[in-house]
């Protein structure tokens, strides 16, 4: 078994989530992620203390052009084989701020996204489903 495949196997059901909470979706994310048993059911452990200890980054909330470089920095600080989830309409595409002068219209302009979770805000089930799909994709 090749080393990278082994590493990917190691990630299955061991998602250590870095919470990049930037706006109201962050509250929804925190509320959903605080249900530890639900998160454990999809193999995720939220609230990594720092980027180096995470392998999934969940960007929840509105990313502004001014803050975008800091989000990129967090991404760069994560281990190289990490995954990114865009949580909520703002992170996906700008959401209700689609024509704003200050909001980044989709965080995928800056870093590659593995899972998009739609909603304004998404329901807790949507977060769990997104994490489950990510697990499935890593295992494939």
């Amino acid at each position: 078994m090749a080393a990278d495949v082994t590493i990917e196997w190691g990630h299955i059901f061991r998602l250590r989530v870095l919470d990049v909470g930037l706006a109201c979706c962050a509250v929804e994310f925190a509320a959903a992620a605080a249900r530890g048993d639900d998160m454990a059911a999809v193999g995720a452990r939220p609230f990594a203390p720092e980027p180096r200890e995470a392998n999934v980054m969940v960007i929840s909330g509105t990313v502004t052009d001014k803050l975008a470089p800091q989000v990129k920095r967090l991404y760069d600080e994560m281990p190289p084989d990490s995954y990114v989830m865009s949580f909520g309409s703002c992170a996906n595409c700008g959401g209700p701020y689609w024509d704003s002068y200050s909001v980044t219209k989709g965080v995928d302009q800056m870093i590659p996204i593995d899972v998009y979770v739609p909603g304004c805000p998404p329901r807790p089930e949507a977060l769990l489903d997104g994490l489950a799909q990510l697990n499935e994709r890593i295992g494939r």
């Binding site: 052009d65 001014k66 700008g94 689609w98 024509d99 704003s100 002068y101 200050s102 219209k105």
Partner: protein
């Protein structure tokens, strides 16, 4: 206290801006609440400040208008230091200046941002490049959508 107490706005010429604020402070309005502005099209940029009297539980609004191009107002930071950030934000968002401000750098906009985004003529690039996403169904006509006064029509925007 009635609603009028909250709604009372005093219009002053821009030359009297500082004096009017000083008088308010002298009359016990000691708490600086906020300062902002709005684009009043041909009348210029209207700057509004709200000052609160803690003792009397009474608020007063001051309003003045300055020119759209090169509009200047004296800073209120010598009366209330808390006005500094409000004035910095108002300056970058509306393209006016506050003379005597101790630190007139932009506050919120990224470095190198071009333009003053809260002015009506500021072009929002997304509206040029993208279809309005507010239709209930994909492909639904958005022909009846209203354009606010002062906002340039879509055909005249950029290249």
């Amino acid at each position: 206290m009635t609603l009028d107490d909250f709604a009372a706005t005093r219009d002053v010429p821009s030359d009297d801006w500082y004096e009017a604020a000083s008088e308010l402070k002298g009359s016990g309005h000691d708490f600086f609440d906020w300062l902002s502005a709005y684009d009043d099209s041909d009348a210029g940029v209207a700057v509004v400040a709200r000052i609160w009297s803690v003792r009397d539980r009474h608020g007063a609004m001051l309003r003045t208008r300055v020119a759209r191009e090169g509009g200047l107002l004296p800073t209120l930071t010598t009366l209330w230091e808390g006005a500094a950030w409000h004035e910095r934000e108002t300056a970058e968002m509306f393209g006016i200046g506050f003379t005597g401000h101790p630190d007139p750098r932009p506050l919120l906009l990224p470095d190198g941002f071009d333009g003053h985004p809260l002015r009506k003529e500021f072009v929002l690039a997304s509206r040029v490049a993208k279809e309005w996403p507010g239709a209930k169904e994909p492909g639904e006509s958005v022909a009846g959508r209203k354009r606010p006064p002062g906002v340039p029509p879509a055909g005249t925007w950029g290249s």
